[in-house]
Each structure stands twice: as structure tokens, then as C-alpha cells.
């Protein structure tokens, strides 16, 4: 019998062979390429266009019961705003059924005694009726309608007798002056994309190795568990970084999202986020050894929390206290807030550092459990 090479310890050759294998697989596997490149682009476009929280061109009925010049002028003001698309009417009975049929989102009534109300300055000027089955839109309609009326009043006052309005409130929004939701959605979307690649893809590819029996074959070789795990992590770490940079470029060039911070900070944040994301993926794959279960767990424990509890769409400050506490263990929460900062505000290290530490801490918990659970053994 020939003498066998010593097997103990770490071998750079084995690790690089595993990394090379994994990279070749990623490049040749259409589904991996789809998740890593096609899906992010799709998601970005989706979040940029479909998930806009702004209201524009809402169909609104305007019932003009009075024929006075003032009433006509207010109706014209409604027609002039880009927030509404106007359906003019003379009688509320014309528009009420259309609201019921969801053809319009609400209607305003400019009443017969509009002139009198205008003079009295105490009674409400108009009536706004909205579709309560869509509370968000209803709020917007009510709010904007009020806005239209008050700016009409201001304009009217300014024309007639300057000085009626001594105080003018002009809101100023920092960081996102146009309050375009796209601006803060897109940085958040990058976090979602990275969760997909980091957690979902990693969980899937490890589960696939179990399913196809290749994990068993690799484990029967002298390769150590650290090499096997590191060989899995490295390529997806690289892939995650490439995808982040790609997403950032698309955001900046296509969606006009500014990058006020530095690329280095963005890169550092992304690297920090990939630690918990990949760690979670690996942990899932040690628990679930088939792709279907792995995908389910990744979706429930990775994707959904990242979508719902990261502050990406729903503001954390308006959540109940207990849920707010829960969000702290979601790595995406820390990533989303830092991403929004690095894109919209700049390099604010007092925001970044705690986030980076939190992400690394969560990541080391995941990796720690994985390391304890993974042995080079098929015993569960």
C-alpha cells in the first residue's frame, strides 16, 4: 500500500478547488444566474414603478352645485392639479354610483351655498367623500383635496388682499425634497435583493448538494468541514457584492437615486450584511436537506422579514413596541437604514457603525450555530 498524504488541517488547494467548482456551477446554472442577476433587476423595476406610495392622477369626481365665479375657480383648481384626474358633474347622484363601482376614488361637492360659506369663514367649504375600502388612497384623497382648497384660498387671498394670511407654512423635506418614495424604496430594494442572493441562493445550493448526493461524496473525501463551508460561502459572497454594485449602478443611472455617501461605505455595508445573510442561508441548509423545504424556510425567515420588518416599506416607528424590538434581530433592518443613509444622506458613521456591528453580531450567531451543527457526518 502506498503511503497516504496527511489529511489533518486546512488545505488551500482543496478550498480553491471547491470555490472553483462552485463558481463554475453558478455560471452554468441558469437558475442561479436568474436569481443573481435577472431577479434583482426585475425587483428593482418593480419597486421603482409598481410599489410607488405616491398618488398621482387619482380619479376624482367634482360636483359643482354652485355656478358662482368662486365655485368655478375652485373647480378649476382641482382640475389643474396633477394629483387628480377630474370627472366633472352637476349632481352628486351622477358620481355616487361610480364611487361604489370603484371607477373613481372619491368626489368633492362644491355646495350651492358656497359663496355664503366662503364669506362666513367658519363652516366647512366643501364636502369630500372617499372610498374607505382603500384607506391609504382615501387618506391621500382627503389630504390632497384639503391641500387644493387651502392653496386656492391662499392664492385668492393673495390676489384680493395681501396680508390676510400673515403666516405661511411651507414644509421642507430634507434628503428627499420631492418626497418621491422611489428614492427611499430603491436603497431598501437592494437589501431585499441581497437577502435573496445571500440567504435563498445559499440555502438552495447546499440543499441541492444533499439532494443530488454530491455532499455525501465530498464528505467522503479528506476535505474538512471548514473547507466545504468556506468553499460554499466565498463564491456567493462575491456574487452578492457584484449584484449589489449592479443594483447601485442601476439605481443611480436609471432611477436618479443620488449616492451622497461614498462607494467604499456602500461596499463595507454590503460586506457586513452578507455575513448574516449567508450565515442564515447556511444555517437553513443544515436544517433542511431538500430544496423545497429550504426555499420555504428561506422565504419565511429571510425574505418576508426583510420585506415587512426592515423599514423598507413599513415604517418601523409606527409599529407596536414589541414588533419594534423584534426588528432589531432582522439583519435587513440595519442594512436598510444604513443604505437609505448612504444613498440619501451621506457618510454618517454614527448610523453605519452600530448597524455594521449589529449585522456582524447577528451573522456570527448564525455562523456559530451552523458551525456547532455541521459535522462531517450524515447523522442528523
Amino acid at each position: 500500500m502506498s503511503s497516504k498524504p496527511a489529511t489533518a488541517g486546512f488545505s488551500a488547494r482543496r478550498l480553491s478547488a471547491l470555490v472553483r467548482k462552485e463558481s463554475l456551477q453558478v455560471v452554468r446554472d441558469p437558475s442561479a444566474m436568474l436569481i443573481a442577476f435577472a431577479l434583482p433587476v426585475l425587483l428593482l423595476f418593480l419597486f421603482a414603478y409598481a410599489v410607488s406610495l405616491d398618488v398621482k392622477g387619482v380619479r376624482l369626481g367634482v360636483v359643482l352645485e354652485s355656478d358662482t365665479a368662486a365655485a368655478q375657480s375652485l373647480a378649476a383648481a382641482f382640475a389643474a392639479t396633477r394629483y387628480f384626474e377630474i370627472l366633472p358633474a352637476r349632481d352628486r347622484r351622477e358620481v355616487a354610483p361610480r364611487l361604489v363601482a370603484s371607477e373613481i376614488r372619491g368626489f368633492v361637492v362644491i355646495p350651492q351655498d358656497f359663496e355664503r360659506r366662503l364669506r362666513s369663514r367658519t363652516e366647512p367649504l366643501i364636502q369630500v367623500v372617499t372610498d374607505g375600502s382603500q384607506p391609504n388612497t382615501a387618506n391621500f384623497v382627503a389630504g390632497y383635496a384639503e391641500g387644493v382648497v387651502s392653496s386656492w384660498l391662499v392664492a385668492r387671498g393673495g390676489a384680493r388682499n395681501a396680508g390676510v394670511m400673515p403666516l405661511r407654512i411651507e414644509p421642507r423635506f430634507w434628503f428627499n425634497p420631492e418626497i418621491e418614495t422611489r428614492r427611499f424604496l430603491i436603497p431598501g430594494a437592494i437589501a431585499i435583493v441581497m437577502t435573496m442572493i445571500g440567504t435563498m441562493l445559499t440555502a438552495l445550493v447546499v440543499a441541492r448538494e444533499w439532494e443530488r448526493g454530491t455532499m455525501e461524496a465530498v464528505m467522503s473525501t479528506p476535505a474538512g468541514i471548514v473547507e466545504i463551508l468556506a468553499g460554499k460561502l466565498a463564491p456567493y459572497f462575491g456574487l452578492g457584492i457584484v449584484a449589489t454594485l449592479g443594483c447601485a449602478l442601476i439605481s443611480i443611472l436609471l432611477f436618479d437615486v443620488p449616492l451622497r455617501g461614498s462607494w467604499a461605505a456602500l461596499l463595507l455595508l454590503s460586506c457586513s450584511f452578507l455575513v448574516p445573510a449567508l450565515g442564515q442561508g447556511l444555517l437553513i441548509s443544515t436544517l433542511a436537506r431538500n430544496q423545497f423545504v429550504a426555499a420555504q424556510i428561506a422565504l419565511l425567515s429571510g425574505f418576508l422579514p426583510a420585506l415587512l420588518l426592515s423599514g423598507f416599506i413599513f415604517e418601523i416607528d409606527s409599529m407596536p413596541a414589541i414588533i419594534r424590538v423584534v426588528t432589531y434581530i432582522i439583519p435587513a433592518r440595519h442594512f436598510v437604514s444604513s443604505l437609505q443613509t448612504v444613498f440619501l444622506a451621506g457618510n454618517v458613521w454614527s448610523v453605519f457603525l452600530p448597524s455594521i456591528l449589529a449585522m456582524l453580531a447577528i451573522g456570527s450567531v448564525f455562523l456559530g450555530i451552523t458551525a456547532r451543527k455541521s459535522r462531517k457526518s450524515l447523522d442528523t
Binding site: 500500500m1 502506498s2 497516504k4 498524504p5 489529511t7 489533518a8 488545505s11 488547494r13 482543496r14 480553491s16 478547488a17 471547491l18 472553483r20 467548482k21 463554475l24 456551477q25 452554468r28 446554472d29 443530488r212 448526493g213 454530491t214 455525501e216 461524496a217 465530498v218 464528505m219 467522503s220 473525501t221 479528506p222 476535505a223 474538512g224 462531517k376 457526518s377 450524515l378 447523522d379
Partner: protein, 576 residues
């Protein structure tokens, strides 16, 4: 001889189930040892423990002199292990797979790595396919590549887990020869298999059944115990299935199966041959003593096969159909894109016949089968079931057929009773009749005590009964069985065929696909498919006779199969 693997008092439990219950055995260097047994016997568990991928619950295993728990890494360095489905990366090419495993095994740092690859590629004859992705290789080539990867580090112990599953007989034979040649270097080779005919060719076998080691030693020593107890009754022209049923009911008969035109019978140790002579005489057959097979010995070891009495046959009214041809395939062709899965296949199956479709994986037998029972629309050609055209009268045709899918296809989340009710409903049985048939099936197949359980919890034999019950509920004239006994133990398989034989005696027509060569011999006629074409159709005995040569006057079914395929290949080359 030195022990390459030493197994001492090994018990392996997974939760409440005991996979292995106290195994003691040694595997010697320089030999090919077969680890033989049906699915679920514990073969893979034992393999994984020998490869130091699992730890025994009790007892110890030393592989290549190292303890598999304390010294797992050394075991990994000294063994080559090929898991089921070969452990290959399908997205990687042949050479990339080899390179990966070479690096993982640390091969080629001292010796020129290219010579290693050359040696292995030459050995496995994969040189022309170096750049092909492993996923695009045929089953046989994947198997050879898997072997090459396992051989990378010149292991002391080579562990092959079910290397012949999903591989055609030609490749199987080639692999067998390759592995034999490795013994000369002193390598210990462990080959696990559920094919009992493979066991016969090993130097030594470990026979596992239900977690217990039933036998360890050379296969010949086991079969020699049956010397003078195996007989072949030939020359029975009419009613050989009836005769088999009668023979199996005799107390002195341990086991019996149909083998081509003859019947194979194994007597109990104290069995008297003279009674058998009398039975053979009744049917005008002549009896001759034959060499016992490994399967005979296995059944004997397990205490003999089931009797020949099937309650179902008594309950089932005889099938009367007004024609002689029950199933007819007329120029059936199926193309998936540019790939032709079935190419112009025609045959007729007579009423009350057992008709076998045989062929390597991917030969098109499943596709043909699915077109015949209306699960797949043919691209061209047509099929009729009991005179009903599947294309124009699909529902009339489907009422006439019962289908038992691979792996039984029962609903695990439904109870046994709910499964029966579901299938009764699917076959359109109306209320009063439905109740009656379900009760009948419960009684016939003795399912009463399992009614509330999930089919997944049933013993394999009962699972098979339930699947058969579900497909018989509407009393079909034709029964389609897709790989009905894959991986089941030989006793369960006998029981299954006992029912099938009984049904056939009642006039039911049976179509069956199989990859067990001996199962092909249970059939009246066998259609051999290869590369989408029907290359031979005859009785099993005639197929064997056709391929007999001067050197091989009595080929086995497998030999016949291989020769017919080789002949088809030669013809294909001549035509090209």
C-alpha cells in the same frame, strides 16, 4: 488475507426505528464483497458507516485499520466512496469532476496529475467524453465517471453504493469487469445491490434483510445448501400458472416461480421429490434437477415464499371480453421536440396474457406504457384497449384498464380507507357498488387492521396490496403495472406475482415494465425496447434460444438482453 473492514456488534438506530440490529462481519482485502438485500434492508446505512459518514449507535467499525468514529479523517483518506447516483456535479464536465476530486483527495502533488487522469480515463474508456458535462452522460457513463472519482486516490477500500441502479445491462457488465480487475492490487471492494443475480458473482456476500445479517460468506456455500432441492418443470403447455399455484400450496414446496415456459420449484429441506413428480405428471410436464440460484437460497433462508392461493382470484369474476386482442399498439410514436422517445412501436397483447416491456433506462418503455394507458398523447399512431380507441373513445378505454404506478402512488396524507374511497370515486363507482367493492377489497387483501393508518406507515407488502386493491376496484380487463416490484424484498415480490398469476387465470390481461431480468421470465411474452425502438418480441425462452451460441448454449435472460442490444447496435452501425 487481512480484514479491510471489521464490523463488530454494530447497531444503528434513527429515532425509534432500528436500521441495523447487531451486525458482525469482516470484509477482506483483494476481494469483491457484495452487500446484498432489498431496499430498506440497511445496506446504505452500513455503507455510510464504513465510509465514516455516520457513526454506529452501538458497536464499532474499523475501515482500513482505522476506527470510523475516532479516526474518520484517515478513513476518508484511505477509502473511495461512490454514493447512490454517483455523487457527480452535473454542471461540471468529466475532466472538471476528475480535477475536483483529485484536489479534494490531494492527488497529483507528487505524481504527475495528468498521468492519473489518463490512467483513469483510459480505464473507464471516457477519453472521448472528457469535455462533456456530467449531466449529459448516459447512466452507464456516469457510473464509470463516479467510479473514476472514487478511485482517484488509489484507495485501500472501495465502497460502491448500488452502482448498477439505472444502468443498462451492457454498462453493468463492463463495470463489473472493471471492478474485478481492481482486486489484483489488493483493493477491497464492497458492492451493494438489490439484484440477487449480481450477488452470485461476488467473491463473498453479506446478505442483509430488515436490518439483520442473514448470511455472510461465499455465495456458492449458500446455494450449495440447496443442492438437490431446485427443480425445473418443463414441457407444461397448458395451465402452468395453475400448476404453480397448486405446487406452492404443497407443504414440501418452499418456493416456486414461473421461469419462461417452465416452472422453477424449490423443495423444503425434508421435501420429497416424488410428490412433485406426480404433480408434473398431471400437467404432462417433465421434471429436472437444476443448479440452485442465489435467490432460491435467499427465500429458503427467510423461511420460504408465500402459498399459491389468492383470495382475490376467487372473488374476481372471470373477465369476458369479446375479442382475442386485449391491447393493441399501432405504430405508436412519441416525439418531444426533436427527441424521439418512442419510434413506430407496434404489437398486440392477447387476452389473459402477461406482457412484459423490457429495456434500459431511457429506452422509451415508460413513454410507450403511458401512451397505452392514455396518460400521454401519441405524436403518431394509435392504441386500443379492449377494442376501444384511446384517441376517439378515451373514457370507454380507460374504464377497461387499471393502472399501478411506480412506487405505488398512494396518498400518504389519507388513511388506507380514504385511499380506497378516493380511487373508487376516481373510477366512477356509484354509491352502493362503491361500498361493496371497498369492503370486498378490505376483506380480500386483509387491510382491516390498517384502515385508519397512513399508507406510509404500512409494511411494504401491505402497501403493495393496497396499491393493487386501488387499481382493481373497478374490475378492469387490463392491468398496467409500471415497475411494480422495484426494490421490494423477494418474498413480497412473490406474493405480488401470486396475485397477478391468479388474476391472469381469471382472464385479466397484464402489461408490466420491469428491469429485473428474472421478472421478465414471469411474462408470457417480452418486448425488448432499445433507443425508442422495439428490437425484439418473443417468449422469454425463444429470446434466450435466439441468442444461444456454441460457447454459450444456455444464456440467461440478461445475456440474451445484452446480445440483442449489441446486435441492434451492430445493425445500426452497418446501416449508418
Amino acid at each position: 488475507m487481512t480484514a479491510a473492514v471489521d464490523i463488530a456488534g454494530v447497531v444503528k438506530r434513527f429515532g425509534d426505528t432500528t436500521a441495523l440490529a447487531g451486525i458482525d462481519a469482516t470484509i477482506e482485502a483483494g476481494r469483491l464483497t457484495g452487500l446484498v438485500g432489498p431496499d430498506g434492508a440497511g445496506k446504505t446505512t452500513l455503507m455510510r458507516m464504513m465510509a465514516a459518514l455516520m457513526a454506529p449507535t452501538e458497536g464499532s467499525i474499523r475501515t482500513a485499520g482505522c476506527d470510523v468514529v475516532a479516526d474518520a479523517e484517515r478513513v476518508h483518506a484511505l477509502t473511495g466512496y461512490m454514493p447512490q447516483r454517483f455523487g457527480l456535479y452535473e454542471d461540471l464536465s468529466v475532466i472538471e469532476n476528475l480535477r475536483l476530486y483529485a484536489s479534494l483527495h490531494g492527488v497529483g502533488e507528487d505524481e504527475g496529475i495528468d498521468t492519473t487522469f489518463e490512467r483513469l480515463l483510459h480505464f473507464t474508456r471516457l477519453e472521448p467524453f472528457k469535455a462533456r458535462l456530467a449531466g449529459r452522460l448516459s447512466g452507464g457513463m456516469k457510473q464509470k465517471l463516479g467510479l473514476a472519482c472514487a478511485l482517484m486516490a488509489k484507495p485501500d477500500v472501495l465502497l460502491l453504493d448500488e452502482p448498477s441502479v439505472g444502468v443498462d445491462p451492457v454498462s453493468r457488465q463492463e463495470l463489473w469487469a472493471m471492478v474485478q480487475s481492481l482486486k489484483a492490487d489488493g483493493m477491497a471492494i464492497v458492492w451493494s445491490t438489490s439484484y440477487l443475480d449480481e450477488a452470485e458473482r461476488c467473491d463473498a456476500v453479506l446478505l442483509l434483510n430488515d436490518g439483520k445479517l442473514e448470511y455472510a460468506g461465499p455465495p456458492a456455500a449458500l446455494t450449495s445448501r440447496l443442492e438437490g432441492r431446485s427443480f425445473l418443470i418443463g414441457g407444461v403447455t397448458e395451465g402452468r400458472r395453475q400448476m404453480l399455484a397448486e405446487a406452492l400450496e404443497r407443504p414440501e414446496v418452499c418456493d416456486g416461480v414461473i421461469q419462461g415456459d417452465a416452472i422453477r420449484v424449490v423443495l423444503r429441506p425434508d421435501g420429497n421429490r416424488s410428490n412433485l413428480d406426480g404433480l408434473a405428471g398431471q400437467y404432462g410436464g417433465c421434471i429436472e434437477a437444476v443448479t440452485p440460484r442465489f435467490e432460491d437460497a435467499f427465500i429458503d433462508l427467510l423461511g420460504g415464499g408465500p402459498g399459491g392461493h389468492s383470495v382475490i382470484a376467487e372473488k374476481m369474476p372471470p373477465v369476458t371480453i369479446p375479442m382475442h386482442v386485449a391491447v393493441s399498439s399501432e405504430h405508436l410514436t412519441k416525439r418531444f421536440g426533436t427527441f424521439t422517445a418512442t419510434d413506430d412501436v407496434s404489437f398486440d397483447v392477447g387476452k389473459g396474457e402477461i406482457f412484459g416491456l423490457l429495456g434500459p433506462n431511457g429506452a422509451g418503455k415508460s413513454t410507450t406504457f403511458k401512451m397505452l394507458c392514455g396518460l400521454l398523447k401519441p405524436t403518431a399512431g394509435n392504441a386500443t384497449i379492449v377494442g376501444h380507441d384511446l384517441r376517439h373513445a378515451p373514457s370507454e378505454a380507460k374504464v377497461q384498464l387499471g393502472y399501478m404506478a411506480q412506487k405505488f402512488s398512494l396518498y400518504g396524507l389519507l388513511s388506507v380507507r380514504q385511499n380506497l374511497e378516493f380511487f373508487a370515486g376516481v373510477y366512477g363507482l356509484q354509491r352502493p357498488l362503491r361500498r361493496e367493492r371497498i369492503d370486498e377489497m378490505i376483506e380480500t387483501f386483509e387491510l382491516e387492521r390498517y384502515l385508519g393508518q397512513s399508507p406510509n406507515e404500512l409494511p411494504l407488502g401491505y402497501k403493495q396490496r393496497l396499491a393493487l386493491a386501488c387499481s382493481l376496484m373497478h374490475r378492469p380487463a387490463v392491468l398496467f403495472l409500471d415497475e411494480p416490484t422495484s426494490g421490494v424484498d423477494p418474498i413480497t415480490r412473490r406474493e405480488f406475482w401470486m396475485h397477478i398469476n391468479a388474476l391472469v387465470r381469471r382472464g385479466v390481461t397484464v402489461l408490466v415494465t420491469t428491469h429485473f431480468m428474472d421478472e421478465a421470465e414471469y411474462c408470457d411474452r417480452v418486448a425488448l425496447m432499445y433507443q425508442a425502438k422495439l428490437i425484439a418480441l418473443d417468449t422469454p425462452d425463444q429470446l434466450k434460444a435466439r441468442t444461444a451460441t456454441a460457447e454459450h448454449p444456455a444464456p440467461t435472460m440478461e445475456d440474451a438482453f445484452i446480445r440483442l442490444i449489441q446486435a441492434a447496435d451492430a445493425e445500426g452501425r452497418a446501416a449508418a
